[in-house]
């Protein structure tokens, strides 16, 4: 037996002159570079041209910037944008911080359940939430009609900066909640206990210790929410446009897409401006993240701090929290679903008379709409799978290879965070108009798959990287020493070990692709509609019942996904 072990194995092959990791790594890096540069270069170039990018004659100029500045009303657009993003941030941070303390740090009844419900707007798109709010609080909304009969004229108006900020704030509050929660529950409980032992009451401890400890998380999520507020398209499109309130995103949409003779120079310049601002904000986030992380992981043991006792206020505060969840989340979504199953919805008409499935029948009868649903599934399933494969490859190259440009690749892969959806939409639109031979793609859903993939690479990396970093490098080094090259090691050792993270990544991407609309509305063509674009088209046509039905389908699919992921894999979809 020993003799058998001592027979000498054939010497390993000499190192190949051209190891196969070279084409794989360079290929992946090049692909990411093309994906990220494709929408950005045309936008930046077009902003410097006096003619259209696809014309034959043009000259470089800075005139577009001057022209944009002189465009009447553009100052107002910028002001609206900043006010909307600012108000949205205030609403989101206020709600999120209070929720984090109430649901995460007090003995309020049913805190966990309410916390789960509080997160729901995060899973849905702001577009769907907007329709829900319209169904409840819109001019002919259920509650708006119910209100006067009891209390006089309804005091709210969604068609205002304040109304829009309320919707956007509710839809973004979960982000503030998540960040504050991770810092509120994980910071060293002894800090609070020390304050209480020294005689500080609940309120005082909250105000002097807990809240200051949450400050870095609040600040970071505030910048994040402000950035998202700037990029927001759906809410201003639905409620701002009819009221004549234009923000940067709707400015881009109206001048670039809706207009019969789009002014490309102006659109690209506005997009470039937006890109610059968001780049700066993302840079700011990155700088702050270092500090936030320090705070969040501080004393990250599983020791849960003792909850604050609300005492007599326990049930009253619970009632208030419940009221908020009902009014802001459950009622809008519920009313939207209800609307989908009725021909007309009003407090004046008994429900039994209007119940119907005709909205769904219409959707599946008209090829345009059924195709949109079908396309959404294909884009999300196939696109999500392709994107997951690419993201897994990027993660392995960035974190588990000696690839020379792995740091550059990492930076590049995270860069789309700084590219707003509308800018990506405009950019890919130009890119596909410019490059010859891509005409086939242009009218297919694959252009959406490409654009969505680019948009959500950072999201996917965020879902995959933490797990990859937990896999001991000794495991791949062992395989290398035994004779496996980098690619074999990645394929047979690293990627199989990452399977749960890849499943999580796929689900997150599926949901993101399924609800995406802001990039898609610049790119879709007849035949390549998805749910998001169909929703907007139907909305413009005033088909509220069909909008509700489509939105209900989207909500149902996402709910199933979220439940499946939570139940089956225990993967968190956030944080």
């Amino acid at each position: 037996m020993d003799a058998a072990l001592r027979q000498v194995e054939a010497a390993p092959a000499p190192p190949p002159a051209f190891p196969r990791e070279v084409p794989i790594q360079y290929g992946a890096a090049l692909l990411v570079l093309v994906l990220v540069a494709a929408p950005l270069l045309p936008v930046l170039l077009q902003s410097l041209l006096d003619g259209a990018l696809y014309d034959d004659e043009y000259t470089l100029t800075l005139a577009n910037f001057a022209r944009l500045a002189r465009t009447s009303g553009f100052g107002q657009v910028l002001l609206n944008t900043v006010i909307l993003a600012g108000l949205t941030t205030i609403v989101a941070q206020g709600l999120g911080t209070i929720a984090a303390i109430l649901f995460g740090r007090t003995d309020m009844p049913f805190a966990r359940t309410l916390g789960e419900l509080f997160l729901w707007p995060l899973y849905l798109s702001a577009l769907v939430l907007s329709f829900g709010w319209y169904a409840v609080y819109g001019p002919s909304g259920y509650l708006t009609l119910l209100w006067p009969s009891v209390l006089g004229d309804a005091p709210w108006n969604l068609y205002s900066l304040g109304g829009m900020a309320a919707i956007a704030g509710v839809s973004q509050a979960p982000l503030a909640y998540i960040y504050c929660l991770s810092s509120a529950t994980l910071t060293d409980p002894s800090l609070e206990e020390a304050a209480r032992v020294s005689g500080a009451g609940t309120g005082r401890t909250l105000w002097r210790i807990t809240l200051p400890l949450m400050m870095p998380a609040i600040a970071y999520s505030a910048v994040l929410n402000f950035t998202i507020g700037l990029e927001l398209l759906s809410v201003p499109l639905i409620f701002g446009d009819p009221a004549g309130i234009t923000v940067l995103t709707t400015f881009l949409f109206n001048n670039g897409i809706s207009s019969p003779r789009p002014d490309h120079g102006l659109v690209a310049t506005a997009a470039a401006l937006m890109l610059a601002v968001v780049c700066f904000l993302v840079w700011l986030q990155n700088r702050m993240l270092g500090n936030t992380r320090r705070f969040i992981t501080l004393g990250g043991k599983a020791t849960r701090p003792r909850p604050f006792r609300l005492g007599m206020l326990r049930w009253p505060i619970f009632a208030l929290a419940l009221l908020y969840i009902l009014a802001a989340v459950i009622a809008p979504i519920g009313m939207l679903v209800l609307r989908a199953f009725t021909s007309f919805l009003s407090p004046m008409i008994p429900l039994s008379e209007v119940l119907t499935v005709s909205n769904f029948v219409t959707i599946f009868d008209y090829p345009v709409y059924s195709r949109a649903v079908w396309n959404s599934f294909v884009v999300s399933l196939v696109g999500g799978a392709l994107a997951t494969a690419l993201i897994g490859l990027i993660a392995v190259i960035v974190h588990r290879s000696e690839f020379r440009f792995r740091n550059a690749l990492h930076y590049l892969a995270l860069f789309p965070r700084a590219v707003p959806g509308v800018v990506a939409g405009v950019g890919f639109f130009y890119a596909f108009a410019l490059l010859p031979g891509l005409g086939v793609l242009r009218n297919s859903i694959w252009i959406l798959v490409i654009a969505f993939t680019m948009r959500f690479i950072p999201t996917g990396i965020g879902a995959v990287a933490p797990m990859l970093l937990q896999v001991s490098p000794d495991l791949d080094r062992a395989a290398r020493v035994q004779g496996a090259d980098w690619w074999t090691t990645s394929r047979r050792i690293v990627l199989p070990l990452m399977r749960p993270a890849l499943v999580g990544c796929f689900t997150v991407l599926f949901i993101s692709f399924f609800k995406e609309y802001s990039t898609a509305i610049f790119l879709f063509a007849p035949g390549s509609e998805v749910i998001g674009t169909a929703l907007l088209q139907l909305w413009v046509q005033g088909e509220v019942g069909l909008v509700a039905a489509l939105a209900a389908i989207q909500v149902a699919v996402i709910a199933v996904c979220v439940a499946a992921v939570r139940g089956l894999f225990g993967v968190k979809l956030h944080g």
């Binding site: 001592r6 194995e9 010497a11 000499p14 495991l475 062992a478 035994q482 496996a484 090259d485 047979r492």
Partner: protein
């Protein structure tokens, strides 16, 4: 199997030089241990041989094959070398069974299925793990994991075997057993092996030769007995076995092997056989193992008797450890009977102590 030549190996991490100018020739079938304190560059040396880290300078050659040559720009990636490396963490792949773990290197070499099965069985029998072939790594104890890691490495018959502290994750009892088992396996297989440890007992018990490393450099190479009895410098003396250091000044010179008269800081004098030449007036340090010293009992058969002060006593099970102060130098003595009183007369042998040039600080 093959011999291993390391010449002038140097590896830097940023500004830190982890390994500097290491030269080592391991003969075919030899078992050599790298021994040294934490951070002295043992793992770095091993990683350079396996090709996991690219060294900054030097040459590595196994058999006739050059693995690395900085001057000629040759670097073979790890998969193109024929090394077997057992990690301190074992690095068993958690998603594969024991059999799959062992099969992996064979499947890379396209060994036919029947032959593969035979060899897996053989190697698992060799490490006495054949009953566990279907288990996953997390269903095994630490000692069993270590055996599987070894089997996974032996199964493809690497030219050289590299072991990075394979026993350090085991508890003391298991460690003793595993060491004995490893020693047995070594005599059976006669593989060219580099074994890394910071445990001197492992090193002494297993090795043909020991390489003591200190701060990235080789302090001494030699057979275990050599290293123990004739350490090249106070560092080696201190690292291998507990050692007592006694600073002194030479009163009368002696050639190598001659007799030198020394004077301690408090004026006491002693005569020793110098294993290195000593010149009058120079400062030297004498090193003694605890077992070489005993309490003077009247008969001073060819040794020196010195007056010391007792600083501490501790019972350590069967023995007493007595702390002594001899002319300002702390000594440790082991004895069956606890000495009484404040003072103690210490007997030191005339030969057997090791004489190093230089003051006491060299041993610190």
């Amino acid at each position: 199997m093959a011999d291993l030549v390391i010449e002038g190996l140097t590896k830097r991490f940023g500004g830190v030089t982890a390994v500097e100018d290491v030269n080592l020739h391991v003969a075919d079938g030899e078992f050599v241990t790298l021994l040294g304190p934490s951070g002295c560059g043992k793992s770095t040396t091993l990683a350079a041989v396996a090709g996991l880290d690219r060294a900054d300078g030097g040459r590595i050659q196994v058999g006739g094959t050059v693995y690395f040559d900085a001057a000629r720009g040759i670097y073979r990636p790890p998969e193109a070398r024929s090394c077997g490396l057992v990690f301190q963490s074992y690095a068993l792949w958690p998603h594969m069974t024991v059999a799959d773990n062992v099969a992996f290197p064979l499947s890379l070499r396209k060994v036919p299925a029947a032959e593969r099965r035979r060899r897996i069985e053989e190697v698992l029998a060799l490490v006495e793990m054949e009953r566990y072939a279907g288990r996953y790594p997390h269903e095994l104890s630490g000692g069993q994991q270590q055996r599987v890691a070894l089997a996974r490495t032996l199964v493809y018959q690497p030219a050289i075997l590299l072991l990075d502290e394979p026993l350090s994750n085991l508890d003391a009892k298991l460690r003793d057993r595993a060491r004995a088992w490893l020693g047995e396996l070594r005599t059976r297989l006669r593989l060219t092996t580099i074994y890394v440890t910071h445990d001197q007992i492992e090193a002494l018990a297993l090795s043909d030769r020991i390489v003591v490393m200190n701060g990235g450099r080789i302090a001494q190479i030699g057979a275990p007995q050599d290293i123990y009895e004739r350490p090249a410098d106070p560092f080696v003396a201190d690292f291998i076995g507990t050692t007592n250091f006694l600073p002194a000044r030479v009163v009368t010179s002696a050639p190598e092997g001659g007799r030198a008269l020394l004077e301690l800081a408090d004026g006491q004098r002693m005569e020793v056989q110098a294993d290195r030449a000593a010149t009058a007036g120079s400062r030297v340090t004498l090193a003694y193992r605890p077992e070489q010293m005993r309490i003077a009992d009247g008969a001073t058969d060819g040794g020196a008797v010195l007056k010391t002060r007792i600083t501490s006593r501790a019972y350590v099970g069967g023995l007493w450890q007595v702390g002594l102060d001899l002319a300002g130098a702390p000594l440790r003595l082991e004895t069956r009977q606890p000495p009484g009183g404040e003072e103690l007369h210490l007997w030191l042998p005339e030969a057997g102590g090791i004489l190093f040039r230089g003051g006491a600080d060299v041993a610190a």
